[in-house]
Amino acid sequence: DTAVSQTPKYLVTQMGNDKSIKCEQNLGHDTMYWYKQDSKKFLKIMFSYNNKELIINETVPNRFSPKSPDKAHLNLHINSLELGDSAVYFCASSQDGTRPQPQHFGDGTRLSIL
């Protein structure tokens, strides 16, 4: 059973398009996260939701909009894709986002903008 699953695994699209990445966790965790890993492997937090409520919102262009329909799902919608959006996007979850705990990561979505 995959604990944190993301779809799609690969996403190749044209500049200017709008795309979504979906994430689901079956761990019963309250908190979910989105990270971006660039070509140099630097990982940076983008957003975090705790029980469907936004608790972390880093300096991210407003073309990126997370949506959490329930605490097991956190989707990421990206409007007007740009070349610089090419990266690997990771979803993660933890039992509780208000206290330090291990985070469980999905295998990433590799986004390539042509």
């Binding site: 944190v4 492997k41 630097f42 990982l43 993660a92 933890s94 986002g97 330090p100 985070q103 295998d107």
Partner: protein, 112 residues
Amino acid sequence: SQQGEEDPQALSIQEGENATMNCSYKTSINNLQWYRQNSGRGLVHLILIRSNEREKHSGRLRVTLDTSKKSSSLLITASRAADTASYFCATVATAAGNKLTFGGGTRVLVKP
């Protein structure tokens, strides 16, 4: 901005040798965590060490934390080819909930 820096950026060793990598950070922390990332995969949590702890072990892994120097080290003993991966340290700043700030990672290659 990146909280931490890892050293070395890359490490190549023979199977059976020990691998040591270091992480330095800038702000006061609640805890520091180490993660492993295999090629093409997500990160896997290895160890969490709290700011009031100095050393922690898990199997062949040993983590130390020196808050006066704002640094941590990860030692992998008796390395195996399967330990080939990138290793990342991540800090949670004081009063920052569970927000992880990652270092740049150390790429470890264990040759059989």
